[in-house]
């Protein structure tokens, strides 16, 4: 379980996150939703330690993670997989080398074991015969899937994904959502996903946190999100024709 306790973050005098507290349970797909610029990415970067929080703390299964030295963070980081918005694959590496990278750097596995693991995770993200391709040769959806494969190659306890289906067509976006949800169940991970895609919210949102102007405004699940009377959330959820029709 990940516990976020009263975190705040400012940049040059502008407060981006105000006193946010929540918990993310193991085996669940937790979604952070909110408009662009609401503070979702900053929130996630605080959770994964790319930003130090000004106040509060983030605990991973009772172990403090925020505002401690990089050395102490290392152990928890090795239990964490992160999927960045653009994939963040290493351009000069092939798919196989990208997925193998954390194994090379952080484990003592033999080459054979590493190959086995790479093929295992690539199979799980439905990528075959792409091992020797470079990121530049892949489609957007494939890049996301390779990034997921790299994120789960160490069999992490915690998986973070920042807008995993941004820039993808609806069908591919849905596949990525399904994949993340499936992997969460299969590997019993605590998954936290940043999104503003309502389709993701309604299909995989077991827990949903709505962030508005840096504040946590609402928490619930995919069934409750359509029936809440919270004004700001309604404005976000029913901002498009599809969800407005759904409400009717």
């Amino acid at each position: 379980m990940i516990e976020v306790k009263n975190i705040s973050k400012s940049f040059e005098g502008t407060t981006v996150l105000h006193d946010i507290s929540t918990t993310f349970e193991r085996g669940k797909t937790n979604l952070i939703i909110g408009q662009s610029g609401s503070g979702k990415t900053v929130f996630m970067k605080c959770c994964i330690g790319l930003y130090d929080v000004d106040q509060g703390e983030v605990d991973f299964d009772g172990r403090r993670f925020s505002n401690i030295s990089d050395k102490k963070r290392k152990q928890i980081r090795q239990e964490m997989g992160v999927l960045f918005q653009g994939g963040a694959l290493f351009d000069s590496f092939t798919v196989e080398e990208n997925v193998m990278f954390p194994l090379n750097m952080l484990t003592e596995m033999s080459l054979e074991e590493k190959h086995e693991r790479v093929n295992f995770v690539l199979e799980h993200v439905n990528l075959v015969n792409t091992n020797k391709k470079y990121p530049a040769e892949l489609s957007g959806g494939m890049i996301k899937r390779v990034a997921i494969a790299r994120a789960i190659s160490l069999m992490p306890k915690y998986l973070f994904a920042d807008e995993p289906n941004s820039g993808l067509d609806p069908k591919t976006a849905e596949k990525i959502d399904e994949l993340l949800s499936e992997l969460t169940k299969k590997f019993n991970m605590t998954t936290v996903i940043n999104t503003h895609d309502m389709n993701s919210v309604l299909t995989i949102g077991e827990k949903i946190c709505f962030i508005n102007h840096g504040k946590l405004c609402w928490e619930g699940n995919k069934d409750e999100v359509l029936t809440t009377d919270k004004k700001q959330l309604n404005e976000f959820v029913f901002a498009n024709e599809f969800t407005r029709r759904l409400r009717k």
Partner: protein, 246 residues
Amino acid sequence: MKILYQIGEYVLLILQAFKKPDKGYVFRRQLMFDFQRLGTESIGIVAIISIFTGAIIAIQMAYNTDSPFIPKSTIGFSTRQMLVLEISPTIVSMILAGKVGSRIASEIGTMRISEQIDALRVMGINPANYLILPKITAAMIYNPILIIFSIFLGVIGGWIAGMVTGLVPSADYLLGIREWFDPFTITYALIKTVVFAFIITSVSAYKGYYVKGGSVEVGQASTDAVVASSILIIFFDLILTQLLLT
């Protein structure tokens, strides 16, 4: 104040880079990769620049020493001295600052804006150590080899130019390049080269590492890296010359 902040940031980055690599074999692989990209791939430009510079120096020396009181061997001697003392270590290093420095700054800068450096950090890997240390090490080992190569080709270039133009007889030139040779000048050239290699790679890596924004900023960082490296090379050239030759 900004310059002090940048110096502090640079020093902290270099301290991060100079930590023990997490995996020795990964470091060695990266080092080989950087030998290839920063060193071997620069051989062509170093060769062209050196041959032509040597030839130009020899012709200019012939023009400037055209007197019956000055022996022709002076042309060979002067060409060698200029190449060893200044042209090869400093000018070739400045050319490498343009080629290698811009490459390092743009590569690391692109990794920064495409979140690849963040990806390394969240994996618990020290990005400065993984990305920068092999580049600094590769340049500090390979650049002296390039500079020796440059001196050799420069001297050959001067010899060819002297023969082709008929300005310097071959025997006089060959005598000149062997006259009053002080081996310390080579040591001096190599010390300068190692210092310049460190400047080129570390300053360029710093400029790329802290890029914020997009492709325009990466381009700017690349330009800044070349400008800053060139200025620092000239500045340290003066300091090292004062320290080592006086």
